[in-house]
């Protein structure tokens, strides 16, 4: 039974169509991340769900309820905003209480919920402070607390971590994940940060230009990108995408003339000989040591090496393109720019896309 579904959503702002016939549904308890570059329509979609703006056509369902025409307050959802949007003139307690005060709950129940949220988010000592007196992380917790106390069916997050520094962001990520596991609400979470998406989501919808490019679990999205956009978008450093031409015998020839063995790849539709492909090779799947029966072996010149401590990124010349390979620092300690090395790629890690449509084949 889908808990949140968007059906044929069209959203126009004047002449500009932001969303054009979008369909999407997630189950109860899912943690859906809407991921995409800025301007892809993900925040618009979230606002439509929240009821902060109205759809041009289409239908939004939460459970069995058609909420398309409902007021935001009647949709039984709660939201955490990018800027937190805490009420600056109210204390933390006041912020938590304000949203409930309109709900006609008995006072004891309100107090109980506030205490519960304060406890859960460890903001008890801050209850009488005003938002201006809180640090960024504390404000973030209060903002989440304000959403939690409402016991909403669906929790919405709009890039909630983008205003935090890297360390806090990691911490909060874990905490939100933990909260989701404990309380198991349905979550719709908008971000442009793929790490957040990969770490927290149970489902990711990757959006681009108002369309959903792929919808699936983090692993699906990472391992089996549905098209070139997703392949290029997910993963850092991003997947190497190299043009190739299909030859007979389950092989293809790459631009530098080396052969690619596609026997380890499960095709949806096998391409005919002569078809143009794009081969996707993730940097971390390469190996510098000789691999038994690899899909391909490339002999390339090192342009430069970037060591990040835990990893080393080798940037290799591939014609006028680059191929990025991830290796360990030990493997690369003796290498320097200008050296020629051989890298191999395993058969079962290939990603193949139709060069024309960009779709996975």
């Amino acid at each position: 039974m889908p808990r949140v579904s968007f059906e044929h959503i069209v959203k126009r702002f004047g002449a500009i169509t932001v969303l054009d016939g979008l369909n999407l549904a997630v189950d109860d308890g899912d943690f859906l991340v809407l991921l995409g570059p800025s301007g892809c329509g993900k925040t618009t979609l979230l606002n439509l769900l929240a009821g902060l703006s109205d759809v041009t056509s289409g239908r939004i369902m939460i459970g069995e309820r058609d909420v398309t025409d409902l007021d935001p307050k009647d949709r039984r959802l709660a939201m955490v905003f990018q800027s937190y949007a805490l009420y600056p003139t109210k204390t933390v307690r006041g912020n938590l209480r304000f949203g409930l005060s309109a709900s006609k709950l008995p006072k004891e129940e309100i107090d109980k919920r506030i205490a519960w949220a304060a406890d859960m988010l460890q903001i008890g000592p801050l209850m009488d402070r005003r938002p201006a007196q809180l640090s960024g992380g504390q404000r973030q917790r209060v903002a989440i607390g304000r959403a939690l106390v409402k016991h909403a069916d669906v929790l919405l997050f709009d890039e909630p971590l983008s205003n935090l520094d890297a360390k806090l962001r990691t911490e909060m990520r874990l905490e939100i994940k933990k909260l989701h596991e404990e309380l198991n609400p349905t979550v719709v979470y908008v971000t442009h940060d793929q790490i957040e998406a990969m770490t927290m989501a149970t489902r990711i919808a990757i959006m681009n230009g108002g369309k959903i490019e792929q919808f699936g679990t983090p692993d699906d999205v990472y391992e089996r990108p549905a098209n070139l956009f997703v392949a290029g978008f997910i993963g850092s450093p991003s997947m190497n995408l190299l043009p190739a031409t299909v030859e007979t015998g389950g092989r293809a020839r790459l631009a530098d003339g080396s052969l690619l063995d596609m026997s380890g790849y499960v095709f949806d539709t096998t391409p005919p000989a002569g078809a143009e492909l794009v081969v996707g090779l993730r940097p971390e799947h390469f190996s510098l040591v000789a691999n038994v029966d690899p899909a391909c072996r490339l002999d390339l010149e090192i342009r430069h090496i970037e060591r990040t401590g835990s990893d080393a990124m080798l940037s290799l010349a591939f014609g006028d393109r680059r191929v990025v390979v991830r290796a360990t620092p030990t493997e690369t300690s003796r290498l320097k720019s200008g050296d020629k090395i051989a890298v191999t790629f395993p058969k079962d890690r290939l990603n193949l896309f139709d060069a024309g449509s960009g779709r996975r084949i």
């Binding site: 902060l52 007021d71 935001p72 939201m79 949007a85 009420y87 949203g99």
Partner: protein, 298 residues
């Protein structure tokens, strides 16, 4: 050691401002206070009768016109405060409704560009019982309507308030609009999701958030009220009776009609005292607020 011009030039550049402050403001205030202790009539006479230096003030406190002026000042202040309320309501509506924002803003703001003398002419004409609004309503058969406010000491002040509200609401609207637009849109979204009735959002969230804007408006308003003179001249010239006298009018009247410089100076000195009594707290509050803000931001 040579002269450090880099140090000196800014100080030199400040000379005109310092001179103006020292002579035209501080010196002149002292001068007027000194005059208020004398018995100068049309021309200044700087001898002070030390047996009773405050006689002008004593006279002022006994003067009916001065008492009327003071109570009118309060009435005008309270009445004109409607301009802030009205300005806020208009700004809030424009801000919510966006449609026609440019049009409404322009219409509400244009009276600001018009001099109070013209404002007075226009409103006196509208309040004219024989040819103005009253006769319009009477011609519609609503003969019970009375707009002859300027003719009655009890209502003349309200006519002046109406005209000054008309004149200044737009300005407060512009300030409020700026304040409202500075509010994070996500606050509004949060409040919408919280399902709190709009009036409560304004009352509990938005207005408290804009207290600095309100404070600014209050300061500007009280300044305008204390200085109100032109509109009185243009609308009632103080009448009927002394019913629309204000301290500024009183002071100038004491100088011109009564030919009593010392008395006028005493009235002006008390105007300054009133200003200080009203403003020092407001100013300190503002400074304190700013400190608070900076402290938080820093």
């Amino acid at each position: 050691m040579g002269i450090r011009w880099s140090r000196l030039t800014p100080q030199l550049a400040l000379t005109p401002a310092v001179a103006i402050t020292a002579i035209a403001f501080i010196g002149s205030i002292g001068w007027t206070i000194l005059l208020s202790l004398t018995s100068s009539r049309r021309l200044p006479d700087y001898t002070i009768d030390w047996t009773n230096p405050f006689r002008q003030y004593a006279r002022l406190f006994a003067d009916i016109g001065w008492r009327i002026s003071l109570s009118n000042l309060i009435v005008l202040a309270i009445g004109s405060a409607l301009a802030i309320v009205f300005g806020f309501i208009l700004a809030a509506m424009i801000e919510r409704e966006r449609r026609g924002e440019d049009f409404f803003r322009t219409v509400f703001l244009y009276p600001l560009a018009i001099s109070l003398i013209v404002t007075g002419v226009a409103w006196r004409w509208i309040f004219n019982p024989a040819l103005g609004l009253e006769s319009f309503f009477h011609s519609l058969g609503m003969t019970w309507v009375s707009f002859n406010w300027l003719a009655d000491g009890r209502t003349a002040m309200y006519a002046i308030i109406l005209a000054s509200v008309w004149q200044s609401s737009g300005f407060y609207m512009a300030l409020m609009l700026a304040g409202l637009k500075a509010i994070n849109v996500e606050i509004w979204s949060a409040a919408r999701l919280d399902g709190v009735p709009l009036w409560r959002v304004y009352l509990e969230i938005i207005i408290p958030m804009m207290k600095f804007t309100f404070l600014t408006c209050a300061i500007l308003l009280s300044l305008g009220v204390i200085k109100a003179y032109d509109i009185i001249v243009a609308m009632t010239n103080g009448g009927p009776g002394q019913s629309t006298w204000l301290p500024a009018y009183f002071t100038i009247n004491a100088m011109s009609a009564k030919g009593n410089l010392a008395f006028a100076s005493a009235a002006a000195t008390l105007m300054l005292a009133i200003t200080l009594v009203i403003f020092l707290p407001l100013v300190l509050l503002t400074v304190w607020q700013q400190r608070m803000r900076k402290g938080v931001a820093g």
